[in-house]
Symmetry: C2
Subunit: 207 residues, 2 copies
DNA sequence: GACTTGAGTTATAGTCTCTAACAAGAGAAT
DNA sequence: ATTCTCTTGTTAGAGACTATAACTCAAGTC
């Protein structure tokens, strides 16, 4: 009788604060290693086994910290959302004293900058990498909303935000896919033109 | 001396025409099964093993027909390019007697229609699913150009094509990712607005 | 009828995710 | 201090996958 627990509990919620800190530390290490693999070989290259080996620990140990591979990926997505939102926010900070048009421009370049500097992470955000991936799970959605609030700080009309969003995202994904490069197109000038058009389309921005 | 071949040759080029036809048949069957898996679980769900089982044949047999899994995926991409180009072409056929603006609209709806009816295939096109995937390999690029020529038939200015392309692609990928749905946005009206804006931005199209 | 091709088979190596069962340390309770 | 429990690690192993190697055997060819 006694405990009757099935020996293995997926998420140990951590009783002592020390333990909790330790767990958090390890989780961060795991995610850092996962990011390294992501940067090299894309999402498919992220392997729990390989991460464990890299951390000098043996295989299944990591399942103490993440229920499964998908949960790990989901956390990477959430982190990426937060980081993107943060970069957007600092780039368009009101303290900088930019005009509405300039802030929109700053938003666009920050967006593209994130995608260029961390293409795999960007792809992770907008491309469901997993078969049974649920984009509508609670934490995912709330994380994605942080990005939306960053956008709302630049354009208050929802229609405008969405239009700008589709244009930016479309440009960036095509660029990442190498579609422009394979056509011998200078992505920089194309981007400049697109941004100008986006700014023009936004009435709030008096240049 | 004699032959010295290492017993296994990846691509048997087929000597007899009968054999060639048979091979082609089998390859098509394999691709059809792969498409079924793709439609269900995405690119990651495509398994050579599972396909073989489905065709009533045992595992490694398929390696007579495809060098490896990546080659199979690459062929799916090429086919998808061709199909998309074909649908675009028929939707914007000059025979239909549409005005330039209407043809552009038809192009846009055909584009979105393809993405909606076969989301995983669309995603396959624009999202490198494989770690060591080379988007610039010769056959891939030429296949993607068939789509570009279809676009060129609707808009002759390259800048305009690219702008329309980024907007369409951005909209469609965000829609497929469920980003609009999770925000409670009616994608149809948003799309209508985007298309109107795209048409307006194209000077050739006198409505 | 012997000989060459080609297409299938099984066996196997090596990778992966994930579960189960067990060992051992760290802290807390007594 | 000793015991007890919780936590974290270990190895073993199931099950799935890609891919190679070595073989069997049918179909055609000369």
């Amino acid at each position: 009788m006694t405990s009757s627990k099935p020996t293995t509990e997926p998420h140990t919620p951590a009783r002592s604060p020390m333990r909790a800190r330790f767990r958090e530390q390890v989780r961060e290490d795991v995610k850092a290693a996962a990011l390294r693999q992501l940067a090299q070989g894309g999402a498919a290259a992220i392997s729990v086994n390989a991460i464990a080996k890299q951390l000098g620990v043996s295989g299944p140990a990591l399942y103490r910290y993440f229920a499964n591979r998908d949960e790990l990926l989901a956390e990477l997505v959430i982190d990426a959302y937060h980081d993107l939102a943060a970069e957007l926010a600092t780039a368009t900070d009101r303290e900088l004293g930019l005009s509405p048009g300039e802030r929109l421009r700053a938003f666009a370049t920050a967006w593209r900058g994130f995608a260029q500097s961390e293409p795999h992470r960007y792809q992770l955000l907008f491309t469901p990498p997993l078969p049974g991936y649920d984009a509508h799970s609670e934490p995912l959605v709330t994380a994605s909303q942080t990005v939306m609030t960053a956008a709302l700080a630049v354009l208050e009309d929802e229609r405008q935000i969405l239009s700008a969003w589709t244009r930016l995202h479309g440009f960036v994904t095509l660029e990442l896919g190498g579609n422009f490069a394979s056509m011998g197109i200078d992505a920089d000038v194309l981007f400049a033109g697109e941004v100008a058009a986006i700014v023009d389309a936004a009435p709030t921005s008096d240049q």
